[in-house]
């Protein structure tokens, strides 16, 4: 029905039911994924609904400096962060400047691996995830990631956003986005490595 994004935006500004329906159908899933990362599964729906209210109020002033989807996700991120702050659950981004001890103990004084990484029993993400126990373990880990790490990982790996777009959505600097992504991937790496070596899940 709406052939272009411009037409859809116009429909939303005019308050057309069909435009609301089309937008919800197209963007709701991505919005819920992001909200889940930020505030958890239980209140994600509520946060997304709030985001829709805010978005429809603001749509006449939407300047199209980003795509409609990016703009909507930014509103979800804002609603999510507000909620976290209210509940004092927001992890400070200042902590990002501290050195990450992730691999520090793995190297000797000259910066060489003391014990190199263990060889995994899979050559691709899909192959790795065919193992139910490991998949269950990784599901738990993803759920337990700090909010902004989880959100960054989801936007990059699941939704395929560039780092620049992620800065725009989460309103953090590009270097912070890189640190968030690096830490999230590092946790996954360490958890898989631990599972490969011991058969135990890192979070249990």
């Amino acid at each position: 029905m709406y052939e272009s994004e411009d037409a859809l935006i116009k429909g939303l500004v005019n308050g057309e039911d069909a435009a609301f329906r089309a937008a919800i159908k197209q963007y709701q899933v991505s919005m819920i994924y992001l909200a889940r990362n930020l505030v958890g599964d239980k209140i994600a729906d509520e946060v997304v609904q709030k985001a829709w209210f805010s978005a429809m109020k603001a749509i006449p002033r939407f300047e199209k400096r980003s795509s409609l989807k990016t703009w909507l996700l930014r509103i979800v991120a804002n609603e999510g962060k507000t909620r976290l702050r209210k509940e004092n659950r927001m992890t400070s981004l200042e902590a990002l400047t501290e050195a990450d001890p992730a691999f520090a103990t793995r190297f000797d004084d000259t910066g060489h691996w003391e014990t190199g990484p263990a060889q995994w029993d899979a050559d691709s993400p899909d192959e790795l995830m065919t193992r139910d126990e490991l998949k269950a373990c990784m599901d738990q880990l993803i759920e337990a990631l700090p909010e902004m790490q989880g959100a960054t990982l989801n936007l990059r790996e699941r939704q395929g956003y560039s780092l620049k777009e992620i800065c725009n959505i989460l309103e953090v600097s590009e270097s912070n986005v890189r640190v968030l992504l690096h830490r999230a991937r590092t946790r996954l790496f360490r958890c898989i490595e631990n599972f490969e070596q011991t058969g135990d899940c890192c979070t249990s």
Partner: protein, 77 residues
């Protein structure tokens, strides 16, 4: 000279293409001569890739759910 520790700290920058030509050459050279880092680099990519399919799937909203949300939106505006 790039150390293994340096590789572990900059792997995301490399994967995201945020490094200079010189850095990339230094990394390539290091990976050629260091099998631990070759393995690390490859497995780090796999680790990031698994996250795309993790967590509960969010299903598309049904027509009823969409209608309910549209009604709420219209009532508010």
């Amino acid at each position: 000279m790039l150390s293994c520790k340096d590789v572990s700290e900059t792997v995301t920058d490399h994967l995201e293409g945020s490094t200079s030509f010189q850095d990339r050459v230094a990394l390539r050279f290091h990976l050629l001569i260091c099998k631990h880092c070759r393995r690390f680099y490859q497995q780090f990519q796999i680790a990031g890739g698994v996250s795309g399919s993790l967590g509960d799937e969010v299903s598309e909203p049904t027509d009823d759910e969409i209608d309910a949300l549209v009604r709420k939106l219209k009532a508010r505006n």
